[in-house]
Symmetry: C2
Subunit: 268 residues, 2 copies
Amino acid sequence: MTKTNRSVERSMDILETVSDLGVCTLGFLAQQTALPKPTVLRICKTLVDRRWLSQSKNDKRYRIGPRFPRMETTPGLIDALVESGSTAIVELSAATGLGVDLAASIGEGRLEIVDTTRQFALHGIFPDCVGYRPSPFRSALGCVFLAALDTETRVRCTARLAATLTGSDRAAAMEFPRKVDDIRTKGFAVREKGYWGRAVDYGGVPTAISVAVRSGDKTVGAISLVWLAEQYETGTIVEKYLHRLQKTAQVIGAQLAAEHPQLLLPSM
Amino acid sequence: MTKTNRSVERSMDILETVSDLGVCTLGFLAQQTALPKPTVLRICKTLVDRRWLSQSKNDKRYRIGPRFPRMETTPGLIDALVESGSTAIVELSAATGLGVDLAASIGEGRLEIVDTTRQFALHGIFPDCVGYRPSPFRSALGCVFLAALDTETRVRCTARLAATLTGSDRAAAMEFPRKVDDIRTKGFAVREKGYWGRAVDYGGVPTAISVAVRSGDKTVGAISLVWLAEQYETGTIVEKYLHRLQKTAQVIGAQLAAEHPQLLLPSM
DNA sequence: AGACTACGTTTCACCAGGTGGAACGAAAAT
DNA sequence: ATTTTCGTTCCACCTGGTGAAACGTAGTCT
């Protein structure tokens, strides 16, 4: 049987304690987890270095930090979106001959691909993309989704994401505000040069154009037309199929509103 | 300088990758983190055992699991509640001679204490409670807050919390549905016998009665009157001060609605 | 069919990395 | 002034984590 890692278990004990009980002192954590204080100190220092925990300056108490990964899925949205959208994306895919991805909001301005019509044999691109979370600022899906949010929400999400992301994702976050107006007027987004997600795994380099899916006054997700970069120019696809893509997004949004009105209500 | 723990760093690398990119294979994780596959396998197995990651049966791909700690704070609510409520709780505390705690919703049916009037010299109880997250089902604050939510939200939060919590918190979660009606008709809650949070650190055993803070049609938090158990009977305090406690909760809710109406709007 | 590749997993000798009891100085409570 | 509790440092010990190599299997190419 595969072994497990004791240090990782201990770090989870500590994080669960802080997450459950809120702010904690070192001694209290040592007592709760039944670990010696030096061990807790070292693990907490590791977590603080990465901002998974943060420490107030005066007292040294620990609390959950700004870089701790956050998940805020509206419960049921993913299932509802798949239910309302799967036939529409299949029809769009058949009509265009291209792959179609459907992505749902998972909170904080992030998306997760929840359904796709991609087939390697038909489209020549990596098909196993369900569950994948496209980059918020570099992918077509991410950009068009953020651009479709109301200004206040977008600013908040952009700020939080910029604080969390690193490397070229962070750089893209800084550039993003300058791109928003362009995306909004054009009504669609394309992926940033140099960003391919994990499509390099196999298959050719994919290109995509994406539009947001809005339901009521809420932005609930986004859909993409995806094709092999070497086969078609982006301009050609936009000219031929953008209107149909936008139409499909509207249909999905309307159907979601009709079938699952409770998802669009306030939650608190 | 204090050392750090390499295994913990590696586990954070893995969790951040899965959180950022979504579903990942073992090999992909090994490549992203630049770690050997057996190392990634052992760490992932540790995380899967605790449900911080989960694995689909057919393909062995990893995704964030159901027990990964979730944080869903409405941004700004804590600050707004402190701003709208701090003078009101000071007045209540002065009028009653008891400690008063103010707690804010942090999502998923959880609360965090955001302000308090407790002073050890005056009330004889542990004063450093700000940041503390009372038990959802065992504390007075937690129970009254959950009971005040609309039925649908309460059922969803109860289910999710029951899946996450362990030990006596879990047992209390199973009992909770039977207590809801009683709390709603009485209009306040008391803590479960045997639950004292961390008050045992020092000071005497505290007792508390709590009421929910509602603003518009949303339940945004809760407030408590807290005293030393050996000094007064619960019945006495209820008789003398419950009405005043409820009045304070109403005042805070109304003030929050007046000063921060945007917090009560839908967010997506 | 056979060759090949890529996957997740097991093994095991090695030793770096993590460990924790003891001791420390500082701060707070008594 | 005394005691307690806090977070932190030290360091000898040795276990728990490591990772190259090998394995079985599943799927893909020729």
